[in-house]
Subunit: 284 residues, 6 copies
Amino acid sequence: MYYHDKRLQYPVRVETPDPLFARQLQQAIGGIEGEIRVCLQYFFQAWGARGPTTKYRDMLLHTATEEIGHIEMLATAVALNLEDAPLSLQETAAESNPLVNAVMSGERPRHTVEGMLHKHLLSTGLAAFPGNADGVPFDCSHVYASGNLAGDMFANVTAESTGRTLAVRLYNAAHDPGMKDMLSFLIARDTMHQQQWLAVLEELGGAAALPIPNSFDQSLEKQEYSYAFFGTNKDGEAPPAGRFTQGASMDGKGTFSAVQAAPLGDEPVLGPARKGSGAQSEQM
Amino acid sequence: MYYHDKRLQYPVRVETPDPLFARQLQQAIGGIEGEIRVCLQYFFQAWGARGPTTKYRDMLLHTATEEIGHIEMLATAVALNLEDAPLSLQETAAESNPLVNAVMSGERPRHTVEGMLHKHLLSTGLAAFPGNADGVPFDCSHVYASGNLAGDMFANVTAESTGRTLAVRLYNAAHDPGMKDMLSFLIARDTMHQQQWLAVLEELGGAAALPIPNSFDQSLEKQEYSYAFFGTNKDGEAPPAGRFTQGASMDGKGTFSAVQAAPLGDEPVLGPARKGSGAQSEQM
Amino acid sequence: MYYHDKRLQYPVRVETPDPLFARQLQQAIGGIEGEIRVCLQYFFQAWGARGPTTKYRDMLLHTATEEIGHIEMLATAVALNLEDAPLSLQETAAESNPLVNAVMSGERPRHTVEGMLHKHLLSTGLAAFPGNADGVPFDCSHVYASGNLAGDMFANVTAESTGRTLAVRLYNAAHDPGMKDMLSFLIARDTMHQQQWLAVLEELGGAAALPIPNSFDQSLEKQEYSYAFFGTNKDGEAPPAGRFTQGASMDGKGTFSAVQAAPLGDEPVLGPARKGSGAQSEQM
Amino acid sequence: MYYHDKRLQYPVRVETPDPLFARQLQQAIGGIEGEIRVCLQYFFQAWGARGPTTKYRDMLLHTATEEIGHIEMLATAVALNLEDAPLSLQETAAESNPLVNAVMSGERPRHTVEGMLHKHLLSTGLAAFPGNADGVPFDCSHVYASGNLAGDMFANVTAESTGRTLAVRLYNAAHDPGMKDMLSFLIARDTMHQQQWLAVLEELGGAAALPIPNSFDQSLEKQEYSYAFFGTNKDGEAPPAGRFTQGASMDGKGTFSAVQAAPLGDEPVLGPARKGSGAQSEQM
Amino acid sequence: MYYHDKRLQYPVRVETPDPLFARQLQQAIGGIEGEIRVCLQYFFQAWGARGPTTKYRDMLLHTATEEIGHIEMLATAVALNLEDAPLSLQETAAESNPLVNAVMSGERPRHTVEGMLHKHLLSTGLAAFPGNADGVPFDCSHVYASGNLAGDMFANVTAESTGRTLAVRLYNAAHDPGMKDMLSFLIARDTMHQQQWLAVLEELGGAAALPIPNSFDQSLEKQEYSYAFFGTNKDGEAPPAGRFTQGASMDGKGTFSAVQAAPLGDEPVLGPARKGSGAQSEQM
Amino acid sequence: MYYHDKRLQYPVRVETPDPLFARQLQQAIGGIEGEIRVCLQYFFQAWGARGPTTKYRDMLLHTATEEIGHIEMLATAVALNLEDAPLSLQETAAESNPLVNAVMSGERPRHTVEGMLHKHLLSTGLAAFPGNADGVPFDCSHVYASGNLAGDMFANVTAESTGRTLAVRLYNAAHDPGMKDMLSFLIARDTMHQQQWLAVLEELGGAAALPIPNSFDQSLEKQEYSYAFFGTNKDGEAPPAGRFTQGASMDGKGTFSAVQAAPLGDEPVLGPARKGSGAQSEQM
């Protein structure tokens, strides 16, 4: 079960509220690269963890719990960036029009309602919501928890890689020093989280964990195709040479090669449509 | 641009059609672990590939093109498994009732309309569709193409890991020798595809590719938190010791440690609701 | 604006309630072939109708309004089919087990909770909902209203074709005489609705309405490709000969031909990744 | 920020694992009536809370944090119910066929793979996932946080009402004493949560909080229509008499009446389609 | 069944078309706070209404039918606001650039294609569609009809509360007198609709209707937890005192208290992964 | 199976990159009118084609394969249009502010980050993705393959009609000569594809293919309602006279008429809520 502290994991401050940056931050909350995703992903991996020990359940609970606090920080940042957002369409002409301000002062214009996410004004009353920068709600099909520990660790590295890439893009897009400071913390945490899932993969044996799942008897797969790069160029031009076309395979269990793909099967023929199946008479 | 051959990449045959297995195969077509996903993922990574050479664009096109043929094989397998599926609810009682058959013969009963995916009967006329085993349509938010080559390779390993895990589960669930044969081919291809993306990661420098993206100046992140495992146990119990709490980090750029998480920030206070923002008067 | 009458457009009666048929009927309510779709589609086409007269706005309003009554009939049919559905998992063994009934009496067994849509039990309290036979909610992206009248008429013919195909499949699956009677009415209405949208296409000029939109100056399109069937067989095998490869085109504005597709463009080369865009250093 | 304890809020035990009940429990995890929804709903309401005090932010954080533990209990219950679920289709005939068991022993048959949620077998490896009993992933558009405190309290009462209704249905469907015990706890918590949001509504002034939002000057609305029940019966038959057609309104600011609806506007006429807008020529 | 009148329920006029306001109005059509939602919600509640009388079925039909006319008014308003929207990207520079107009005249600039919802231009031909202000299509999972009349009434109050809050925000954002007039009517109707569902709750017994569902025997729930506010602060700090922590409960069946939450269960231990379940060997 | 050529089907060049046009092009990739849809639609129709010959399977494979190349062209066009898109919010004020450029030079201003699709910056690293111009991912429920060949042909005409309408709108919105050239090719292909599906309908017998499906015995439908236009005007005003109210029906099997709709059924009465179904006591 769970507990909370009213304080934030790391300070969140905004000197110059910017509703357009509020919009961009939503991607880090409810985008597929965002914090809701990793939070739920680590929780569901923990809650379904099977194995001889509870070690990885425990480990996952620590990090999943940390991630709730990251959603909280970002939601707070969105609300602070919306503090003086325009509430009406007229404001775009007068008080906050990019044109008037910029022409007269040479300064960065305040962003207008045109660039805002309308949901921030119409649906949340100037606060965050669990969706992305386009207003698309987060959909939990992105919570990867496959029941295979090694596969899940690769999913976690992926999530933290896209997450850190997003955080870097937000850092580069930001202009507010408070926001840059907050992001420099989140980027550091993403660094650690990439590292820790890779560390688990080493504990699981590195190459010995491959191919995933390693519990399937490889003699049952068509092994002549297990380490062959198939070229599909129409004229048979070879694929580019690389580590993936020659040498020992990464799992040490085969040797890479490159071959031109060709049909091993025939043209498929399905039975005619059955009476009563709703097809046209001509199909029967 | 693209070309086709009417023949299949590998033979698809079904000796004993089974509408319930048709349902399960849908997961490999339109599930998040399925072939539409990897096909589109590799295509979009290829079409957006930036860099000094077109090597990875080329490589991705070969494999993306191969994957179209995998969707084709599975769609054919679904249609063949539906060849004599029940079209009416009455059939469940008489000809194909599990009860009558099983009691009388001791053999495997034919599956009934109760276990079928109704979409196969009502919407497709006994054919496959681009959705999963629950009838949920595939949603292209699962096509990961982040613009970061290393992150995308991890996403591809993940896709092939969940894909091979699914194929293994289908192999174990299957009873038809033709289906087991087809799956033994697809499992082999998933083995290769896991390997090839890992090979690209080696080409990209292995640890030197980390943390992803490696183009961000790490001096700008809060480095004191970049290699620290944060424990969140309420009573301060340490996280389980592991490779992720001690020793050199996986990227060789830091040293793992474990620390108890504690708030670095304060309780956040948002401004009151603004007049005209649709809040209750008491919030203003 | 709109009015109602408490009576149904056509009688709905169920002699033998069947929760599995209730499930199948959901497809006709909230499936993409269903009545919510056509109802909203005709309404949105009406409400956005532009043109010199309000004739088609009027016509669409009549039929859209009729369709509300079809949703109502089907929702009533679902509720009636759920009247004695099992509420607990134990009932599947005793009172309503297919096995006991069928073995003892030779009659059609009552369907059990296994085949039910769980949403009917858990979420609606034995009533209909606006989703399909798999429990997937209807999503209004299927409401086609493009602002082009001729294109919308083809969309309407399509909707009524898939709708009538579904209704025929439900008729064939049904065992209850009341349900067959209700469906024989809905099938007749789908017949009419297919006809009426085709009649509008005739009013719009038949071939003169093509290609859609007919307001675009065809001299601006690359006309050498406007009536050519492109073959994409890898080995250049010609496509099957048919009406679509020879003779005058359907719009009378060209002549069909068949040609082998070949690249007219070059291999695309994108610029390298930009500094600050979150790519790997190797991509820059 | 947040903390965890490895122990569960309340004991979860399963004496007779049942994969069909595992399926039903998913509705309480990832259905719109489920725990992910209330958890995120209370968190986002808290993180966006504006007003002169942080009282309601605090209160919401307590309950949101409790709800994480409810998801955890249910996810654990799903995994325990899947402990001996069938992994192959053949098992449905022999070991776990409802027919053989029930005929021979008269006992409750073990449920078969036909009734299982295939995602439990194919995608999660016998564990829970954040989706509902039909396999549809939870979609965060159901997280209601409108920025209006009173409206949000009604949304919370609704969530806990549908939540408790679902829990009661699961209690009635269940056969396992451990599951009934767990549900009796969750039902009690839903009782409390209904009560506490109603208590906040009382604190906000009861009728004085109405109409929501109460910060809008009612003189600006067309007040002659603010307390009138509009009848839409085609033949003008009056609506059923009730509290809503007569007497003082619930907010004490008006008097209910019933009137027949009639058009106050004209038939709308839109401008013709514009050149270049992609319409048919006949629409211009 | 249903009927229509070509005239609108209330006049819709637009003096100064504004494509950005057209975008915002979409939220009231196809947002979760919008009119499609309440229309379908009241219809499905009516069509599934069970009980000794048809009183509430009747009442719901009146209001559901009224709501169709509200969608129609809003769709008309969207089309009128799009009458002179820019069709090309060049127009943003010349004729309709905010800059040129505003600098030269000091008047409100015409909004440009940058702020438009592109679907209005590309997909609908300058008309409304059943989706929200971000272009996300309405998804019918938001149609709440639980089979529990009291719970559904709370859902309806919620829908009308978020609906009126949205209408107020649109009123505040609007600049066109015709639009403000239309919204002042819709706000009034939302006032009435909030009132009428609350009136039904009074008819259902007020507190006697609680907890929902009131048909469950409360002696079967763990009553020691039915009226206790659980605090989850890590350090045991008490929750804020309020009506919800002391005094008689709102249903008069208990007394509120506040207690610190603590685990009543143990750390859960799942069985190891089964052979054939697709896990890693190390998990078995 | 499938093959590729690295070259594009038609040249794609962009003289003046425009991130706003990149956004609009997404609709042609991942909108419901877009190329992913037709590509998958023709593939799934081919893979499920039943009938006495493989003619239509073959034909569909040719065109489906061509469509992959169209997605590729558009994805390339998106990436080229994003080549110099702004990466930070500050750029909107200084280098690329519409105001400064336009005032000073009178030329078309560069579009700013406000109008961009944020996903292009934050999620894809300046490349295309499989979603529409609003950032909503493509959802494969739009892949129509009903198992009825004639119905599917109408679906294909619809897809190419909305597709060509979209391409025309993009052509009109575009300012870049390279983009206009690419679109003039795609418009031509849409012309051909409309024609070819209509040609198949002629091969299927034209009117003889109606009503769809033509395999259902029309004597089983309520034929008195099969060719009658139902008027639903409240006051009985006749529908507008047209081809659809008089003369022979389009299938030559009936005669159109117009009649006022009236209830043929009674007010439906459902049974009371059952004990244990989670309703209120008052409903039982």
